[in-house]
Symmetry: C2
Amino acid sequence: MDPDSPQDMAALLKALGEANRMSLVYELCDANTPQNAMCLCSCCDVDASVVSRHLKVLAQEGVVTSERKGREKTYALNRQELVRSLRALADKIERTCHDEGRM
Amino acid sequence: MDPDSPQDMAALLKALGEANRMSLVYELCDANTPQNAMCLCSCCDVDASVVSRHLKVLAQEGVVTSERKGREKTYALNRQELVRSLRALADKIERTCHDEGRM
DNA sequence: GACATATTTGCACAACTATGCAAATATAAG
DNA sequence: CTTATATTTGCATAGTTGTGCAAATATGTC
C-alpha cells in the first residue's frame, strides 16, 4: 500500500467505506483478543455468509488478519498498518502548501 | 460527523473510496489555491460531467467546499475537518485495550 | 463412521454506481 | 441579444455490490 497512490488509498478506504464492514472494524477495535466470525455477527444484522464475505474484503485489503483456530477462524485488526495508512493520508492533507509567492 | 459512529465514518470513507474522487482530493491537496472543475479534470480521465458529480459527492460529505467565482466554481479541500476525522479513526484503532487480565 | 458447529461458496436478484453524451442552465463578454 | 465558456442535469447503460438462502466444505466430537 503506497499512501502516495490515490488508487491504493482509494482501494483501502473503499473496503472501509461500507457500514457493516466498518461496524466489524469497530467491533474488532474494542476487542482485545481475536474474534471469530460468529461472535462478530452480533454487531451487524446480516447473514453469517455476508459477514464472511465482508471479512474477506477486509482481509484482502490488509485491514484484518485471520487465523484458523480449530473449526473457527479468528480475526484481528491489523492496527499498525491501518493506523500508518490513515495517518499518512492525514499528514498529506494537513500539509498546506508553503510555496505561495515563491517561484 | 461523529467519529464514534461506524455509519458516519463509513459514509465519509465511501466518498473517498473511489479512485477518481481520491485523485481529485490528491490534486486539491497539492494545490495551494481553490481550483475549478475544468482544472481538476486534468487529473482523472473522465468527462467533465463526471468530475462535476464526483465533486458533488465530496461536497456532500464535507470533504470539499465550493464557491461560485464568476462562471467558474472553485473547490477547496476542507483540510481541518478531514484531518480531524482521519486522526480520530486512527486514534481509535491505535488504542489497544489495556484491560486484559484486569476486570 | 455419524453428527455438530463454523465458515465458505454458488446462485439469484435488487439496488446502487460510474460513466458518456446531449441538452439545459449559469454567467460573463461582445 | 448573441455568443462563448463552465457547470449541471436527464437519460441510458454496463458493471459492481450487498444480500439471503441453500448447499458445500472444514474441522472437531462422539
